[in-house]
């Protein structure tokens, strides 16, 4: 039995298990009940955490834009999201005429569920994890796919041209960014020799951000794109597509897309921390799991801060620029990142530097870092030489079904 002061959550789990079996329940039923409790706590916790995230992001965006942000309801406006929540709960649902009801109603639910599912496998500490799945990394990719499906369903079901265009863009953009995302996910899997997220965290004596910075940067960019956040928010581009796929939604159905967006932004930060910033690792995290949770959240908030900073400072890419960035820069570079690390690491092991001692690990990290920085510098030079392609100006009337507006070029 774990000590309460060292590991309160493990203690409570073990205590509940012993109490329930003490009541004469069979072990299978006890396991089922505990799994249900754990899943409920993680999912509900994530949903409630969004309330805080919304306040945090609005406040930060406010400061970035030289405003105060929410500051009326409660100290520092911290109760603003509660007021918004109360309001949105009592709003009327307005369903547009001709909407395809099944995809229309399913989309907001799927959007939230897709993000929540990722939380099932995130290791908050070495023993605080929803489920220690051996194929956790593949599970994360699979769960992420549902989010794209939700956007497509919303776009199709809304009976609205702009929503549909948002859905089309989602298809093109999200799947394009999934390719470099999956390739860069190979790097942590390769260096940890496992798809289990806990094993990946354990393998990071030196965080993978330092041993594979190229893969880390590409992964970060693709994750921001997967969350469809600025500067990649072409899916809901408000100056082009009204609000994209969520134009026709009202009340809490719109609110659920809002929740999904904020939670997704935080979840990708968490995923980045787990895969590249050594997750819960830190001094004393093995003895005191709650300390590991604290480390993970500190790292996550640093990454989340950068995500918000990007949203507050970068203009939106055009859809063709977005796709070009993915296919012509990130996809080839991610392949380079994978095989750069694979070959350099293998060469070092062949040269007799494959030991598990701290010195050997640090030496390998330094050499890998140098190789990565060299490639990043080289690709920067190559990209600097490429010139921006001018868009051909198309004149004359165009059919309605074209997803880009007619742009008159001004001399």
């Amino acid at each position: 039995m774990p000590n309460f002061w060292q590991d309160p959550i493990g203690f409570i789990a073990a205590w509940l298990h012993s109490v329930l079996t003490g009541w004469g329940l069979p072990t299978e039923v006890v396991d089922f009940l505990l799994a249900l409790l754990g899943a409920g706590v993680i999912a509900l916790g994530a949903m409630l955490f969004v309330i805080f995230l919304i306040w945090y992001e609005r406040k930060l965006i406010g400061r970035i834009q030289d405003r105060l942000g929410p500051n009326r309801v409660g100290p520092y406006g911290i109760f603003q999201p509660f007021a918004d929540m109360l309001k949105i709960f009592t709003k009327e649902y307005i369903t547009p005429e001709g909407a395809d009801l099944v995809p229309y109603n399913l989309a907001p639910i799927l959007a939230v569920a897709a993000v929540l599912l990722i939380w099932a496998v995130i290791p908050f500490a070495h023993n605080i994890v929803g489920v220690d799945l051996p194929v956790g990394l593949l599970f994360v990719i699979a769960a992420g796919g549902f989010g794209e499906l939700a956007i497509m369903l919303a776009g199709w079901g809304s009976n609205n041209k702009y929503a549909l265009l948002g859905g089309f863009r989602a298809v093109a953009m999200l799947i394009s960014y999934e390719v470099p995302m999956i390739f860069t996910m190979l790097v942590p899997a390769m260096m940890a020799n496992s798809l289990n997220l806990n094993d990946i965290v354990r393998a990071q004596t030196v965080p993978f951000l330092l041993t594979a910075p190229l893969a880390a940067i590409i992964f970060f960019i693709t994750q921001v794109a997967e969350a469809a956040r600025s500067p990649f928010d072409v899916v809901e581009a408000d100056s082009e597509l009204v609000a994209g796929f969520m134009t026709e939604y009202a009340g809490l159905k719109f609110g659920m897309f809002y929740v999904a967006e904020f939670l997704h932004a935080f979840t990708i930060s968490m995923l980045f921390s787990v895969l590249f910033l050594a997750g819960w690792r830190g001094p004393g995290a093995e003895q005191f799991p709650l300390l590991g949770v604290l480390y993970l959240f500190i790292k996550t908030f640093v990454v989340y801060f950068i995500v918000i900073l990007l949203r507050g400072s970068l203009p939106r890419f055009r859809i063709d620029q977005t796709l070009d960035l993915s296919w012509k820069v990130l996809t080839p570079l991610s392949l380079v990142a994978v095989f750069l690390n694979a070959l350099v690491l293998k060469a070092l092991v062949e040269a007799g530097l494959g030991g598990d001692s701290l010195g050997a690990q640090l030496l390998r990290a330094v050499i890998l870092l140098a190789a990565n920085v060299g490639v990043i510098w080289l690709s920067g030079q190559l990209m600097g030489q490429a010139t921006l392609r001018e868009r051909p100006v198309v004149s004359g009337p165009r059919p309605l079904a074209v997803s880009r507006p007619v742009v008159e070029q001004q001399e």
Partner: protein
């Protein structure tokens, strides 16, 4: 093993129920006063012109096809990545060869103009 997937199943059900129940509750709490003007499609604030179910451009298909190729490639590379520690230099180079063949495919699609947003 089965326990783990039981948890994933339970989690999936809860993840679907939480937003579902919230949306249902909000539907019960909220007012229900639909009228003709409200039910029209909002679109961009102006009345809708023409058909809303647009035909989509063939370009989306091309991206989807290229995506499919690389997605399948990634599935093949994951076992390679997991076994990386036990692999010799030869097997690692073979993985590189496999990726290079597909990178050739990317170059071909690029030169063909499949990656241009027309």
């Amino acid at each position: 093993m089965l326990d783990q997937w039981l948890f994933v199943g339970l989690f999936a059900i809860i993840a679907l129920l939480l937003p579902g129940v919230a949306i249902y509750l909000a539907g019960v709490l909220g007012p229900k006063k639909p009228n003709e003007a409200k039910r029209t499609i909002y679109e961009c604030g102006i009345e809708t012109v023409g058909e809303t179910k647009l035909q989509f451009r063939a370009q989306y298909y091309v991206y989807a096809l290229v995506f499919l190729i690389f997605d399948v490639e990634a599935v093949f590379l994951f076992p390679w990545a997991v076994a990386y520690g036990q692999l010799g230099l030869y097997a690692v180079l073979e993985g590189l060869l496999f990726a290079l063949i597909l990178a050739g495919g990317l170059v071909y699609a690029w030169k063909k103009g499949a990656l241009e947003w027309k």
